[in-house]
Assembly symmetry: C2
Homo-oligomer: 273 residues x 2
């Protein structure tokens, strides 16, 4: 598998420890893989929003999905936390381990282009209303040239989940789906999505119910089993496969060598057949 | 002057309007210049620090220089504001104008390596004390490979003034001196330092006393004339010339086509002879 392109998504949720991945990356790079690291930022963004005294209300969709209400002041905090704090912390930690990382966001080089959700239906206190000042986006395109420039020059690109809006805005986008878009644009061999779960559980929260493989035949079952944040990860996996990625693995960030472990088949592997 | 490398520093102080420069950049790029934009972040960092309720004490050196006291919580805010908010705002504005900008910081690709100031002598209420928890750095080296990778692929690099410490820390560094280091590492034809002043005034604040040229013969006079923030700009100019940059121009960010205007000799031009 030398020279294969692997996109790694590191969850940004509360309690996700980047250490096992950071320790593994020098070894993975030494094997010749072309790697791109995409990270989340929710815990860091929550902390900065609290420090700045912002209201962290969530938007609940009519179908029950929860997402960050990214009003203009929250967007500033999200960009600061994701593209500033989290991105540069990861890059500095990697540099300290001898990995020549370079951090960007989806705004840079138009890596991630999204369309702002101009009118979001939300349920609040049992009533529906329309939110018009949210700055989150629906991903539309990925221009991977900036990643190729960095990869060809032997840098490890580290990407924050901020997208460029079609009118030049900066937009909050979901990190898992951003990673899926990037993996598709790069024609990646694998997308490995790491967080504090062993994978997708058929019978949440029973740890013995881990689904090892999801193929088109079992996708409906996977969709139905996904709870909470897992819903978006399953969607990201579907999007990456549809964009031509060979396999998507939802796996555990907490184990030693999390990427190699995932590639050996731990976690939940989504395949074309 | 086609294909010449020009490093542009845009001041981040209160009231510096980036618009004239942002309007000029497409035209400068169309002429074939290799451009790098380095930006400051003080006003944005001050605003975020206030929002986060941080104490914005300054450090006064025994010789009277003032600098940001970058204690750990302030470093987080500085990185968030500089590498997150300011950097991505500039990149998004440039993208909206059709310029394929890509934003990084000095941490990325080890572009700017600095040494943390572990013990800073400060004067407070007339007494000297030593500050040991400051995360600002003295620039030691610039590795320009990440800029070459982006420039060769036709991106406009936009650089935030955060450096990588020798122990893997992120450090606050002065934007003017960061630009001087980068200009030196690139062997730039010119470093243009733009802010809300017409240049260096021999008799501050008399606008008719603008020094048009500074050569080794008149450097002592320039040093003596520099007030406040201008002291660092003169130091940056000296460092850039010593590193081999052909000319450094301190010029006005507020005029139309500020870079072309500066290159035509407006502002204060520092030369080798």
């Amino acid at each position: 598998m030398s020279q294969s392109t692997i996109v790694i998504k590191l969850g940004g949720g509360e309690g996700v420890n980047p250490e096992p991945l950071l320790q593994e990356l020098p070894e993975l790079l030494a094997r010749g893989h072309r790697l791109v690291l995409v990270h989340g930022a929710s815990a860091v963004a929550n902390a900065l929003a609290d420090q700045a005294g912002l209201d962290r209300r969530q938007i609940q969709s009519p179908s029950g999905h929860l997402s960050r209400y990214t009003y203009p002041a929250m967007l500033e905090i999200f960009v600061a936390a994701a593209a500033g704090q989290m991105n540069k912390t990861l890059v500095a930690h990697l540099q300290a381990r001898g990995v020549n990382a370079a951090g960007i966001s989806g705004v840079d080089g138009r890596l991630l282009v999204a369309e702002r959700k101009r009118a979001i239906r939300a349920v609040e206190n049992g009533r529906q209303r329309v939110i018009r000042d949210d700055y989150s986006g629906k991903l539309r395109a990925s221009h991977p040239q900036v990643l190729h420039a960095l990869l060809d020059a032997r840098f490890l690109p580290v990407v924050a989940p901020v997208a460029l809006g079609t009118e030049g805005e900066r937009l909050n986008v979901d990190g898992d789906r951003a990673a899926a878009f990037i993996a598709g644009a790069l024609g990646a061999h694998a997308l490995v999505i790491l967080s504090n779960v062993p994978g997708l559980l058929a019978d949440f929260p029973d740890p013995d119910s881990l689904m090892r493989q999801v193929t088109p035949q079992t996708l409906a079952k996977a969709r139905a089993a996904a709870q909470g944040r897992m819903k978006r990860k399953v969607l990201a996996a579907e999007e990456a496969l549809a964009a031509g990625v060979s396999q998507v693995i939802l796996a555990d960030a907490r184990v030693a060598n999390p990427v190699a472990t995932a590639l050996r088949g731990a976690g939940t592997v989504f395949r074309h057949h």
